[in-house]
Amino acid sequence: MRISTFKAVFLGLLLALPIAGFAIDKDDAKSDKKFDPNEMIMHHVKDAHEFHFFDYKDKSYSLPLPIILWTDNGLTTFMSNKFHHDDEGKVVVEANGGKFVKLHEKIYQLESGATSVSFDAKHHPTNATLPLDISVTRNVFMMWVSVLVLLLIFSSAARVYKKSENNVPTGIASFVEPLIVFVRDEIARPMIGEHKYKKYMPYLLTIFFFIWINNIFGLIPILNGANLSGNIAFTFTLALFTFIITTVSGNKNYWKHIFWMPGVPVPMKIFLMPIELIGIFTKPISLMIRLFANITAGHIIILALMSLIFIFETIAVAPISVAFSLFITVIEIVVTAIQAYIFTILSALYFGMATEEEHH
C-alpha cells in the first residue's frame, strides 16, 4: 500500500507537468509596459511569499503562504493573500499593531504614524524598516514538500527490507538501493576511509538526496521554479553544516596540518598557517557558491532563452527558444545529480581530511 501511495503522488506530479510552463507575470504580459527580462528572471529565481501557479482571465491562481515576522510587538503572523498579490508596497496590512507592506518580495514594517510607504530617488522605502522575517516562503514550502517526498520514498524503501525475509530489495527499494550503495562505495568509503565512514553516512546520504531532489523540484515548471537549491541561504546552511561537522571532527593531525604543517621548514610553516586557516573557510564557501551558482545559472539560462520570445515580440523565435531551453533543461537534469554528487563528495573529502590519521 505504501508503494501505491508513492506511485500516486508521482503520477500526480507527472500529470501536473503539461499544465506547466514558466508563467509570465500578468503585468508584463498584459500591460503595455515593456517586457523586462531581468525583472521576470529575478522574480523566478528569487524567493516569494506566495505560491503563484498561473493567471487565468485576470485572476491569479496562487497558494497563499503564512507570513511570520518577529517585530517589536513579538511574533506577528498573517497569510500572504492579505496583500492581494501586491508587490509594489501599495497594499498596507495591519496586524498585531503594526503596518506592513510587501515590496519586491520583502516585508517592510511602516514606521508608526505612516499610512503608506514613501520612496527615495532610488526607489528605496524611507519610512519603513525590515523586521526579522521567518515566513514560510515558496522555497520553505517546497523544501517541506521535498522532505515529505524523501520520507515517503525512503521509509517505504526501508519497509521493503523489513518485510522481506532475506533482505532482497523489491519495488522502490531496488531503485534507491543502488543510489545508497553508490553514496557508500563511491563517496564515503574512498573519501573518508573504511574505518570511519559509517559515522558520516546518515549526513552524506541525507545531504545527497536533499540537494538532488530540490534540484529536480527546481526544474519542474508547475512548481514555478521554486529555486531552493539555487538560493544562497539554502546552500549557505548546508555548507555551514559541513563546516561545523568538519571542524568538530577535526583531529590532532588535522589541526597540526593547519597551524604547523609537518615536513616543511619553519618559515614555510609560518607562511602556510594563514593560508591553511583561510582554507578552513574557503572550502565550505566554495561548496555554498558552487551549488548556488550552478543551479541559479541553469534557471537563468532557461528563463533567458524563453524571454527571447518576448524581447523580439514574435512567435517565430519560439521554436529556437524552446529547442535551446529543452537542450539546457536536459543538461540541467544531469546537473541536478552532478551538483548533489559534488557537494556530497567534497563534504566527504573534508570529513576525510579532518579525520585522517598521521601516517609515517
Binding site: V136, V140, L151, N167, I180, A233, F236
Partner: protein
C-alpha cells in the same frame, strides 16, 4: 546583489528542516537500509565462503573415495591371489592325501586278496585232498571189489614202494 545575500528566514527554516530530516531519515531509512544491505553483503560473503568450503570438502571426499576405492581394489586383488594360492595348495594337499589313501587302500586290498587267496588255496587243497581221498576210496572200493584185484593192487603198491 540581493541574490547573493542569504535571507535569515530561509537559513532558519533550512537548518531546522535539515536537522529534522537528518534525524528522521537516519532512524526511518538509513539505519534499516544500510543494515539490510550490509547484512546481505555479509550473508553473500558467508555463502560464498561456505560454498568454497563445501567444494574443498567435496574434493577431499572425492580423494578419500578414490583412496578407498584403490584400497578396496588392492584388497580384492590380494584376496583373489590368496584364494588362488589356497586353492592350489588345497588341491595339492587333496591330491597327495588321496594318493596316500589310495595307496593305503591298495595295500589293504592286496593284503586282503592275498589272505583270501591263501584261504581259497587252503580250502582248495583240503577239498582236493578230500576229493582225492573220496575218489581214491571209490577207486579203491572199485578196484577192490574182488579179491584178485585186491591182491594185485597190494602187490603193485608193494612193488612201487621201495623199502629203504
Amino acid at each position: 546583489m540581493e541574490l547573493v545575500k542569504p535571507g535569515f528566514g530561509l537559513v532558519f527554516w533550512t537548518a531546522l528542516t535539515f536537522i529534522f530530516l537528518l534525524l528522521l531519515l537516519r532512524k526511518l531509512a538509513w539505519k534499516p537500509i544500510l543494515g539490510a544491505v550490509s547484512d546481505r553483503e555479509q550473508s553473500i560473503k558467508d555463502a560464498l565462503a561456505s560454498a568454497e568450503e563445501a567444494k574443498k570438502e567435496m574434493q577431499n571426499l572425492q580423494a578419500d573415495n578414490e583412496n578407498l576405492l584403490k584400497e578396496a581394489r588392492a584388497e580384492r586383488e590380494s584376496m583373489i591371489k590368496d584364494a588362488r594360492e589356497v586353492k592350489v595348495k588345497m588341491i595339492d594337499e587333496a591330491k597327495t592325501e588321496a594318493q596316500a589313501e589310495a595307496a593305503k587302500i591298495m595295500e589293504q586290498a592286496k593284503a586282503a586278496i592275498e589272505s583270501e587267496r591263501n584261504a581259497a588255496v587252503a580250502d582248495l587243497k583240503k577239498q582236493v585232498a578230500d576229493l582225492s581221498v573220496e575218489i581214491a576210496e571209490k577207486v579203491v572200493k572199485g578196484e577192490l571189489a574182488d579179491k584178485g584185484k585186491q591182491a594185485a593192487l597190494v602187490d603193485k603198491l608193494l612193488s612201487e614202494t621201495t623199502l629203504n
